[in-house]
């Protein structure tokens, strides 16, 4: 037998059933958790105890368990909305990596509204005005990029990236400059500290026993459903798919590609700005770490979910549990800090990508053909 066959070959799969797809992805997450367990065991932390703490976000035998759930929601809502918003632009192959900046813009503008209005207006009106200002200002912050891209063909990746830092340093400037005009800072403190919002700018909560359910959670899940419909059932969603697939086809079909790009980017950035508003009105103040990196984490969530809104709901919940869980677990395990969440998230990314590869290709090992057997 002279015809050499390579030892392994990679063959493209044509079909992969949905149930197998779900199983293989769950398996990928489990493998990642398993690798995490080995790492934990290596530094002499009992992985079972740690994971129990982490995945229950420390709610077992905890009198203040409701606090942990509130913390989870506070992190989960902005991440969910941001990931959904990013999926909109990614579907169009427009690489908006400016979630951080847009989030901060939304936070700053709604904080401005909250601090300037004070308690002068009824709470519902204050909150609506904050949401509108947060969304519109962030939307414009994103629209600028889309406009430049459409008009002069600039690179949206670079521009959104750079605008992240402009927004971040503007926020830092407001947070550190003590001056008469700077209403962002608290007047009572000697050191520069962000002012607490007036009570009418606090997000509504619904009391269920001790637990207070933040209504942003309801809005976020509603948004998830709306964006699902928007992407799958509307003309706008259809246009986004076509533009993302082939711009020349979109033009050929008579679509106004520039307008679609600008519209979608405005919508995406506005949603992220809304997430920023929700966060500050829940936290009741600005902070320089206001984003919790959702602009970045959202990119990972959107891709892990393959831009599917329903999947985004699941994935962002998983990532939120990971984050918040690691923070709570860190209080019980001094040798390991909350950055373990980053580590696990990274491992999950790898294993899920591997799973993705396996759903597209299969690996074929060289078979012992008859002639090879003869050779032996």
């Amino acid at each position: 037998m002279k015809t050499k066959q390579p030892f392994v070959r990679i063959v493209r799969r044509t079909d992969f059933p949905l149930w197998a797809m779900i199983i293989i992805n769950i398996a990928a997450v489990l493998v990642a958790v398993g690798i995490g367990a080995i790492l934990l065991a290596a530094i002499k932390v009992d992985p079972f105890v740690y994971y129990k703490d982490m995945f229950t976000i420390g709610t077992i035998d905890n009198r203040f368990a409701y606090k942990n759930f509130e913390g989870l929601i506070e992190f989960f809502v902005p991440l969910l909305i941001t990931s959904l918003a990013l999926a909109l632009t990614f579907k169009m192959k427009f690489w908006n990596i400016g979630g951080e900046g847009q989030f901060i813009m939304g936070a700053i503008s709604s904080a401005t509204v909250a601090l300037l209005l004070g308690n002068s207006l009824p709470s519902w009106l204050t909150l609506i005005m904050m949401a509108v200002c947060g969304a519109v200002s962030a939307g414009i912050y994103g629209l600028v990029v889309a406009f430049f891209k459409v008009k002069w063909g600039t690179n949206e990746t670079l521009m959104t990236l750079m605008l992240n830092y402009i927004a971040l340093y503007a926020l830092k400037y407001f947070g550190e400059t003590q001056a008469g005009w700077n209403f962002f800072l608290s007047g009572e403190s000697v050191r520069p500290v962000f002012a607490t919002f007036p009570e009418s700018a606090w997000m509504y909560t619904i009391k269920i026993g001790k637990f207070s359910l933040n209504i942003t959670l309801v809005i976020a899940i509603l948004l998830c459903a709306l964006i699902y419909i928007y992407m799958k059932k509307t003309k706008h969603g259809y246009e986004i798919s076509v533009v993302g697939d082939s711009q020349s086809t979109a033009k050929y079909a008579g679509m106004k590609v520039g307008r679609i790009v600008m519209r979608t980017m405005f919508l995406s950035a506005a949603l992220i700005g809304l997430a920023g508003t929700f966060y500050v009105s829940t936290a009741h103040s600005l902070s320089t770490s206001v984003t919790n990196n959702v602009g970045w984490t959202g990119i990972i969530v959107a891709w892990l979910s393959r831009l599917n809104p329903v999947m985004i709901l699941v994935t962002s919940l998983l990532i939120s549990v990971l984050r918040v869980g690691c923070q709570t677990a860190a209080t019980n395990f001094p040798v390991i800090d909350s950055n373990f969440a980053d580590l696990l998230q990274g491992i999950i990314l790898f294993t899920v990508l591997m799973a993705d590869f396996l759903t597209r290709f299969k690996i074929v090992f060289r078979k012992n053909t008859e002639k090879e057997v003869e050779d032996k």
Partner: protein
């Protein structure tokens, strides 16, 4: 010396569940031109890619000069003296001719030698090729690029040369020049495998023909003992009528008139230069020309996708110049352009057939203020088109990119016709299609013609155009060389016009391309 320069025995190659080659046997003698004939998707290119080391076969044996070999990379195939000229040239646009050849140099020297230009010029001259080794590939004509590809394989001592559809991009004259080169190489003892689906060329150039059908070996025949009809039967597997009908229709007033049109290409060069012509209802006007002589820009200008520099576009007496693509679609002007990659314009490859049906009418499908898309209509359109054109697809929700080339084009043409246009601009509608699908498309066009649609047919196969079109307009570098009646012209004449050697517009006194019963009133 072995009887065969190359012998492939029982080659099998599968992609996933698709069997591209199944137990194929192919033998090429030294100093012979073998034509590899087969419809699209019959596995011709796959087989040759196995031979040139791009694919590894799943089973079978390869013998070169009687010795069994295993070809695991293009590098090894080169060492065995096998050279392939691909359908899409593998050249680097910004490099000179010489540098493109030196790319494959494995002599291990770190620096490019300074006398490489002279070396390659001398080599080309010795073989009787004309080429400027300093010329940048970007600036070359298609035939020059092809010559360069051939020199490239010869430079590395190829004794066995494979050409994949070499004539697809050439004019008649260029083709006959290529054939002269091939005959010369054959006389010097080279073995040549030429992949094609043009029967006339097979008859002209080859010594023997191997026919494949749907990945399987059918037969090998001696060219001198066969004819077009027999070859087609082998290729398609049944008898087929090779005549394209040209129904006669009554003369109608001009439908679309183009007057003094000038259009620039993407680089800002003049692509269409002062062009005037008209299309009547119920007529097919062919547009012939070498690839890249302004066909694409002309189509885009008519569809409103490319701004025009000057000139008039009059549709049913109304100007359509400067209207948006959408307005032009609404006027009933359908444009379909099949680019080389077949998917670039007109279809959205990742979307389903249903969604592609909606591409042009999703805004009209329901009220303007209804934000939702009407997929039901798309699905029923898709079902109709699939049935009418017998498109082979698992379902209406299959992404278009998963269909085979012929089916993709049927989806496109089907949608355009479904919209009920009165002008159809169609460029290369049968590009890369097998005989059956091609004839299906000719029939569709003829049916539209009988229904009074004016058709502008941009094509590449002159034989087909002479049979199908009523009149043929020839372009050469964006200028019109004349409009001829296809009943009283020849392929050679068209070829001369395409290269600009013959210009009929200057000959007769009247201004060409202006209808006597024009809708345009001169001021």
């Amino acid at each position: 010396m072995a009887e065969y320069a190359i012998e492939l025995r029982n080659i099998t190659k599968t992609f996933g569940s698709v069997i591209a080659n199944k137990n194929i046997t192919l033998k090429v003698k030294p100093g012979e031109i073998l034509a590899l004939l087969g419809e699209n998707g019959s596995g011709k290119t796959t087989l040759m890619n196995v031979l040139s080391g791009i694919y590894k076969p799943d089973g079978g044996q390869i013998f070169v000069n009687g010795k069994e070999v295993s070809i695991t990379s293009p590098e090894e195939s080169k060492k065995l003296g096998i050279g392939m000229v691909h359908q899409h040239f593998k050249l680097i646009d910004v490099f000179s001719a010489a540098d493109n050849i030196c790319l494959g140099d494995n002599s291990g020297k770190f620096f490019l030698s300074k006398n490489r230009y002279k070396k390659i010029d001398d080599f080309a001259k010795k073989l009787g090729f004309e080429i400027d080794s300093r010329k940048i590939v970007m600036n070359m004509a298609v035939s020059e690029k092809q010559t360069l590809e051939i020199i490239k394989v010869l430079y590395y001592g190829a004794k066995i040369i494979i050409l994949d559809e070499p004539t697809a991009v050439l004019t008649v004259q260029e083709t006959s020049r290529l054939f002269d080169i091939l005959r010369k190489m054959k006389n010097e003892g080279h073995s040549i495998v030429i992949i094609t689906h043009k029967l006339n060329e097979v008859m002209e150039i080859s010594d023997r023909v191997t026919v494949l059908r749907k990945g399987e070996y059918i037969d090998t025949v001696t060219t001198s003992e066969t004819n077009n009809q027999k070859l087609t039967e082998l290729m398609v597997g049944r008898k087929i009528n090779l005549n394209i009908e040209r129904p006669v229709t009554e003369k109608q007033p001009p439908l679309l008139e183009i007057r003094n049109l000038t259009v620039k290409d993407d680089e800002g060069n003049t692509a269409i230069n002062d062009l005037s012509f008209y299309i009547r209802s119920g007529e097919i006007l062919g547009v012939a020309g070498i690839a890249g002589c302004g066909q694409k820009e002309l189509c885009e200008a008519i569809a409103g996708l490319r701004p025009i520099v000057c000139g008039k576009l009059i549709h049913k007496g109304e100007s359509i110049a400067g209207l948006s693509p959408k307005k032009i679609i609404e006027k009933g002007i359908a444009m379909s352009f099949i680019p080389e990659d077949r998917l670039g314009m007109g279809l959205s490859p990742s979307l389903s057939i249903t969604d592609n049906m909606l591409l042009k009418n999703y805004t009209q499908a329901s009220s303007k203020f209804n934000p939702f898309i009407n997929r039901k209509k798309g699905r029923s359109d898709a079902e109709t088109v699939i049935k009418d054109l017998s498109i082979d697809t698992p379902s209406t929700e299959t992404p278009v990119r998963k269909l085979s080339g012929g089916n993709v084009q049927k989806v496109l043409v089907g949608r355009e016709i479904k919209a009920g246009p009165n002008v159809i601009v169609t460029a290369y509608p049968v590009r890369g299609l097998d005989i059956n699908s091609s004839y299906a498309i000719y029939n569709i066009l003829n049916k539209q013609k009988k229904d009074g649609v004016g058709i502008l047919y941009v094509g590449e196969d002159l034989d087909v155009m002479l049979e199908l079109c009523d009149k043929i307009m020839v372009l050469c570098r964006g200028k019109m060389m004349g409009v001829v009646n296809s009943c009283n012209t020849t392929k050679e004449m068209l070829g001369l016009m395409m290269t600009g050697t013959e210009n009929l517009t200057a000959k007769d006194g009247k201004t060409p391309g202006i209808a006597a019963d024009s809708n345009i009133k001169e001021a």
